[in-house]
């Protein structure tokens, strides 16, 4: 028993920083929805040093990427500059891939996120991870990264956990970014129908698949 307790304490202290960030994040999340949406266009995202941390090849270590800004983003920034919140940008980790892979084929992702949510609720921790369909910031990804359309990302303030997710999912791109939560969680408009998929070829399971919209529990 003693060893179990010390292990848990250890986990808490490791995540102290994460807690601090996530409570700030929570405060931001309480903003009225309208403002949330308006600011999402002012994507002043700095996608810095997006690289595959787990990569063992020297060729792809730490590739600095150029933040790209669309004309719309630039214009929106002027308009809503005054609406910027005073709490500075936080650092987020993400994994991103095409939505069929993330939200449909990999059903264990649903289980993993539910399990984590259950733990967070039990321990009264602020949820610090989200599923973002069609993230608004895909344009800022490094130019050699191609993500199938529609896309989906899992975003978290816990960068170490994102490394674990990448290890689990493998066939996705892992990166980090700095920005306001609202921007990080913003989606470009999409059709609900585009996020519904047929089961993989030859899928013959003794059970039905999870509901297509399981991920909405984790959407911003």
């Amino acid at each position: 028993m003693a060893s179990t307790i010390s292990v848990t304490n250890n986990a808490c202290s490791l995540e102290k920083n994460t807690y601090a960030v996530s409570s700030k994040v929570a405060a931001q999340r309480k903003q009225p929805h309208g403002q949330h949406a308006a600011r999402s266009h002012a994507a002043s995202l700095k996608l810095s040093a997006s690289h595959r941390a787990s990569c063992l090849k020297p060729t792809c270590s730490k590739k600095e990427t150029r933040p790209r800004k669309t004309a719309l983003q630039a214009a929106a920034e002027d308009v809503s500059a005054s609406a910027e919140s005073s709490s500075g940008p936080a650092r987020y980790g993400y994994v991103i891939a095409n939505a069929k892979f993330m939200l449909h084929d990999e059903e264990h992702l649903a289980e993993l996120l539910r399990e984590r949510r259950r733990l967070f609720l039990e321990q009264e921790r602020e949820i610090d991870f989200w599923v973002v369909p069609e993230p608004a910031w895909t344009g800022s990804l490094p130019s050699n990264v191609k993500i199938g359309k529609p896309s989906a990302a899992v975003v978290s303030t816990n960068l170490t956990w994102i490394t674990f997710l990448k290890l689990r999912l493998d066939k996705c791109y892992k990166g980090e970014m700095e920005g306001e939560l609202a921007d990080v969680l913003a989606s470009t408009p999409y059709e609900e129908e585009d996020l519904k998929f047929a089961p993989p070829k030859g899928w013959d399971a003794p059970y039905p698949r999870y509901q297509q919209d399981w991920w909405k529990l984790f959407a911003p």
């Binding site: 292990v7 848990t8 289980e111 993993l112 170490t160 490394t163 290890l167 030859g202 003794p206 059970y207």
Partner: protein
């Protein structure tokens, strides 16, 4: 109640504390001879009267304690490995370039201890076990629980020893092993308690001392254990989800624990993915040996499951599963998962693959029948059957493989996801 669960893992860890013995350049996981390895906590006294064991055709070591099933090629094994080689592989002093990011991430994930409060029994277990009256079904339930318990306990022993042995040279990897042994102890203890619902538990302390240990070099431990964790996940989750949608077959409460339970299995597998990635030559796309071993271990794990489960159709039909459909689903999904790390996988979705598996089931049945036969000719008759068996296995092994592996090792200009 949480304390009770924790007790199980603590006690099990203590009971199985053992001293390594140096032998032929490797150290076997064996308890020091003569040490009192009591498994009292693991073993709940059997409440049922009468001679439960004899009625079902099992042997009892003592009252309520089942003699372990005979070991065969198809039964779960206990493993031991070259711990010195393991130390070299993960020592940051010896391997200063070892990428620790994924290990750190695994450690944090295991420290979360998602299932700390999960393995708590309720009163339904005993009632449900009593409700399974048919002797042959009881027998097959006990067998299922015994195999699962032995497999989980085998993981516990190996991980516990690795945690102990790597503590100095690689504290992070060692702590992960220790936390995984925590999970396995919970699982094994929970299964053994379930066995006692049927009146027959295992003496795991006795097993620790007396079972044969198979020696595998570290790399073979990685391939084999990775696969057994991931296939374990797919088996548990498939049974769980099937019973969720067909609750009329929910005849014993242990299955309701499988959803959270199998997340442990999957996480253990992820850690082995990280171990394999840290030794790139073991999973490199350019390494023929790595490819051959990958296929070899996939094949042995899939075939073992297919043959084992097809000998126990009765169990799967009792919980409403079609053994073949269940097995093929598990094989296909495990293979898809495995393709994320192994540089080669088997083409299990090719209909030919299943055809040969089904032939193997028949040949295996013949072999079992000959094994039981008293005829003096049985030994001779076995020769062509064994040859047929080997030929079929070879056919599977030589089927055109599927190129696979982690995207992190792929040389490509554009990353497409």
């Amino acid at each position: 109640m949480a304390t009770r669960t924790a007790q199980v893992s603590r006690v099990s860890a203590r009971n199985a504390s053992f001293k390594g013995q140096a032998a032929r350049g490797h150290v076997a996981v064996r308890p020091a001879a003569g040490k009192n390895v009591s498994a009292a906590r693991f073993v709940t006294k059997c409440a049922a009267g009468g001679n439960v064991a004899e009625e079902l055709g099992f042997k009892e070591m003592r009252k309520g304690i089942k003699e372990a099933s005979e070991e065969s090629l198809l039964t779960p094994r206990f493993y031991t490995t070259d711990f010195d080689e393991m130390e070299q592989m993960f020592s940051q002093e010896i391997q200063p370039n070892l990428d620790m990011a994924e290990f750190d991430a695994c450690l944090l994930e295991f420290q979360e201890d998602y299932n700390q409060k999960h393995f708590v029994r309720n009163n339904d277990f005993k009632t449900a076990a009593a409700g399974i009256e048919d002797p042959s079904l009881r027998r097959i339930f006990i067998e299922f629980l015994e195999r699962s318990c032995t497999a989980e306990f085998s993981g516990f022993l190996l991980y516990k020893e690795l945690g102990r042995r790597l503590k100095k040279s690689s504290p992070v990897v060692a702590e992960i092993f220790t936390l995984m042994s925590r999970d396995e102890a919970r699982h094994a203890g929970f299964l053994n308690k379930a066995m006692s619902d049927f009146g027959l538990a295992l003496d795991l302390g006795f097993l620790t001392k007396n079972r044969n240990y198979t020696f595998f070099k570290p790399k073979f431990i990685f391939y084999a254990t990775y696969l057994s964790e991931k296939i374990g996940y797919w088996r548990y989750i498939s049974i769980y989800r099937h019973l969720q949608s067909n609750p009329e077959f929910q005849c014993y409460p242990i299955f309701q624990y499988f959803e959270n339970w199998c997340q442990d299995e999957s996480r253990h597998g992820d850690f082995f993915t990280a171990l394999l990635k840290s030794q790139p030559e073991l999973v490199s796309n350019n390494d023929l040996e790595a490819k051959l071993w990958s296929r070899f271990f996939c094949l042995s794990v899939y075939v073992t499951m297919y043959l084992n489960d097809h000998q126990r159709d009765e169990f799967y039909s009792a919980i409403g599963l079609d053994t073949t459909q269940f097995n093929m689903h598990v094989i296909v999904e495990t293979n898809r998962t495995t393709a994320r790390i192994f540089p080669n996988t088997l083409d299990v979705e090719n209909p030919k693959f299943k055809e040969i598996l089904d032939e193997l089931v028949i040949v295996n049945g013949d072999l079992i029948a000959l094994g039981k036969s008293d005829s003096p000719m049985a030994g001779l008759q076995k020769i062509p059957v064994v040859t047929k068996f080997a030929t079929l296995l070879l056919q599977l092994f030589l089927m055109k493989p599927v190129e696979s592996g982690t995207v992190d090792f792929e040389e490509q200009k554009a990353l497409v996801f």
